[in-house]
């Protein structure tokens, strides 16, 4: 059981890697960006666990800025992904413009909430 699952895992990882290698570069950039945002968020959660949640608004805004960024990037990734049939009518430029707008709003709110 353990053996088969581990071999399965290996083949899975291998196939994942190969599948992912086929992803276009721009999607890879987005993925990198998402990973960056999630990593920042995790760091903050750990930090909060260490020093306590006193400036709670700052923590919230810091965390949510990362989560928000990640979520928006995922949305963008969904929209610009060529394989995604649902959005083939949506021009990538339009998607990106929406994405920029969302980010601007997000960061405006974050700045408001941070202090």
């Amino acid at each position: 059981m353990a053996k088969s699952s581990s071999t399965d895992a290996v083949t899975l990882i291998r196939s994942l890697r190969s599948a992912y290698a086929a992803t276009p570069t721009n999607l890879k950039i987005i993925d990198l960006y998402v990973v960056f945002a999630i990593a920042t968020a995790l760091i903050q959660v750990v930090y909060m666990g260490i020093v306590g949640s006193f400036p709670f608004n700052s923590f919230l805004s810091g965390l949510l800025s990362c989560v928000g960024t990640a979520v928006l990037a995922v949305c963008l990734r969904i929209q610009v992904n060529k394989e995604n049939k649902e959005f083939k009518d949506l021009a990538p430029e339009r998607a990106f413009a929406d994405f920029v707008l969302c980010n601007l709003v997000l960061h405006l709110v974050i700045m408001n909430f941070l202090g």
Binding site: I43, Q44, P55
Partner: protein
Amino acid sequence: MAKKFFCPLLLLLLLPESFSADNPTDRRLLILVDDLTIRSSHSLFFKSLESRGYSLEFRLADDPKISLQRYGHYLYDGLVIFSPSVQRFGGSLDQAAVLDFVDAGHDLILAADSSASDLIRGIASDSGVDFDEDAEAVVIDHVSYAVSETDGEHTLIAADDFIQSDVILGEKRIEAPVLFRGIGHSVNPSNTLALKVLSASPSAYSASPRAKLSSPSLTGSTIALVSVVQARNNARMLITGSLDLFTNRFLRSSVWKAGSSNKYEKSGNEQFVTEISKWVFHERGHLKAVNMTHHFVGEKTEPAVYRINDDLEYSIEIYEWSGTSWKPYVADDVQVQFYMMSPYVLKTLSTNLMGLYSTSFKVPDVYGVFQFKVEYQRLGYTSLSLSKQIPVRPYRHNEYERFIPAAFPYYGASFSTMAGFFIFTIVYLYNK
């Protein structure tokens, strides 16, 4: 006589209260008597009043022209009722009018004797002083009576159980006993406004000397001989069951208290009635508090609202009327409360000996509508009860701490995501 009062009347128009805050004792007294011989039999007392600047007007108690007020203003500042037996006052005066006179802030001296009428008893009992209801009863003391040739029933009493108060009876101790002949009264101990100034000795009782003794209703030192009442509006009343207390004869008489080795050449009556009349007519023990101010530490102007945890300074000026002028009042027990449903701050004020009391404290960490409260009630003094409302608000949105060191990582994270966004935008667009 009445015309004479028109000029002061004009002055009075400006002053709804009889005694002004500036000058509590500038006053005219109406003295009601049963018959005008009292004017001469009690002349020493009246003279002492006149010598202190009072203008006296004598009327028969049943004079049909008596009127305490005209056009809604009181013509007199004080009333002396030396007419124990009057059944009905003349003119518009009645029991209610007398009490209204007191409730309007005027002073009253009421002296009864064994012939006290229901009217007089009614005025007294409405002020919280109850004469013995037995109309025949007088105060009898077989132990501490004043030795005299004429009195075999021991109704002439030499009383020396004074109230311990310099304010009411003056600083100089009254050495000689006070001669008293008349009816006793009682004061409910729960009555915080009435005070027994002169009490009977424990051996006294109140009963008719002629009737057979059967369980007197008043005995011992519960019998009050002279009481004062200071109403909530600081009007003062002196009530006693002895008109003789004020007579020239008693004032001049020598006194020898039975069982005492000391025989005094002169009774304590003169000193007693003079001092207590000074108190009743506000020559002593009348306080005023002015200039209640508060401000931030280091500032002068009074703000409309404080914020929680502000530091503030509070000050008040308290003066005492000396009979001729306002003198600084000096005490170390004046306290201020910062009050909202219960005192949050209670501070004793420190004085600069010039009447100014001040303190400083920190506003508590509670918002709400607070009051600066000074409640100062001391025996014999007029009560001071001042309050000033002041709201205390919470922090404004921009008064909280802005940049908290503990939050720097969060700031960093936020800005790094922003930077990341810009970099990402550039890379993404360039890549395409």
